[in-house]
Symmetry: C2
Subunit: 191 residues, 2 copies
DNA sequence: TCGATTACCTGTAGAGCGGTAGGTTTCGTA
DNA sequence: TACGAAACCTACCGCTCTACAGGTAATCGA
């Protein structure tokens, strides 16, 4: 038996790790983090569970890699965001249910005690709210309807995005996520 | 050894079941449903895991009981809801983090495949959206800002409530959940 | 007072989990 | 071509989980 015959030169370490992270994304989407087993992830990339542990020494280390990938995924510089780009982002998300399912499941789990993603989401929300406040200010100035400030509106914007995702994941036929999000933006557009 | 000496006549079956459901609520809040073990719930009410199974023959049966309790908890007849009562509800929720943590964790898990609470949440959202549309119509009539209808606004209202809960659970210091919710309602109040 | 039902218990099966130990093959490099 | 590191494997440990089987003590209605 020989391992490297057919796959020889390709499959450098980095590639393999990326494959694994991608598989982990999928498995977490299907079963959540607690429900995801290393063996299930490993099988999806043609490894044994112990083979996977060669790349990520613990389950938590794998989760960290998953979260890091996400960070770099939506790392658009603040200054480049605009409200209509947000609408496009939601539209784009609506075409990639697997990924948003992964992070919706993780977010839900993360509110439980000692969850390894808890700090990540907490800090992420702080950043995202600040970022969204900036976007709102750039678009509408300091004055939003009803005397709201961008800082007070940002949590609402984020809440709408997250909340719609759950409704949409559970029942995509009944919920027009991008449409609803545009409705919300329109609400902010009224001076 | 005798079991019924000290606790004799009290602790009828129904009471015991209610105790167990309450304990399950707590454990699910702390660890999620998948992470919650029957043994942990049992211990909290002074039973063995097998003793608990006498009342609920499977783990799923216990979850069903938890969800049923919730249903009857917020079973206010549609006609009696009003928008200012919603604001009060959110304020009330902000004083009971354990319960909203339970259902936020369950909602997150429920988007995963084959989760036993998935149907429950899907159907619940259908009902709640319809109910909220009714509330909005009663309060604002058919015309909301920007030509929105109550039916199109209801998903947003629900999304804001859910989404704010996650932000608040993760970082209660930074997020004024009731205040933010009132801000959102004010947005709808503009004609 | 008896007999069924209820309310638990102990014991255990059976599966899955993350992780360790320690091997062997392959590959890159000198 | 020799050697160390990388890439995987098998074997296994200890734990936890749900659930079943079958027991015993208390309770309650006839």
């Amino acid at each position: 038996m020989s391992y490297g015959d057919a796959m020889n030169a390709r499959a450098k370490s980095g590639e393999r790790r990326a494959e694994i992270v991608r598989a982990a994304l999928e498995v977490i989407a299907e079963r959540g983090y607690r429900g995801a087993s290393l063996a299930a992830v490993a099988e999806r990339v043609g490894l044994t569970q112990q083979g996977l542990l060669h790349y990520f020494p613990t389950k938590d280390a794998l989760l960290v890699a998953v979260l890091e990938e996400r960070d770099q995924w939506d790392a658009v510089p603040d200054s480049r965001w605009r409200v209509d780009l947000l609408a496009s982002l939601v539209e784009y998300n609506a075409m990639r249910p697997a990924i948003i399912q992964t992070f919706s499941a993780l977010l839900g789990e993360s509110v439980t005690e000692g969850h390894p993603a808890r700090d990540y989401f907490t800090e992420r929300y702080v950043r995202v709210r600040a970022s969204m406040a900036g976007v709102l200010r750039a678009e509408y100035g300091d004055r939003l309807p009803n005397g709201l400030t961008p800082e007070r509106t940002a949590p609402l914007l984020v809440a709408v995005m997250d909340g719609l995702q759950y409704q949409w994941l559970l029942d995509p036929e009944s919920v027009d996520m991008p449409g609803a999000f545009r409705d919300f933006l329109a609400l902010l557009g009224e001076a």
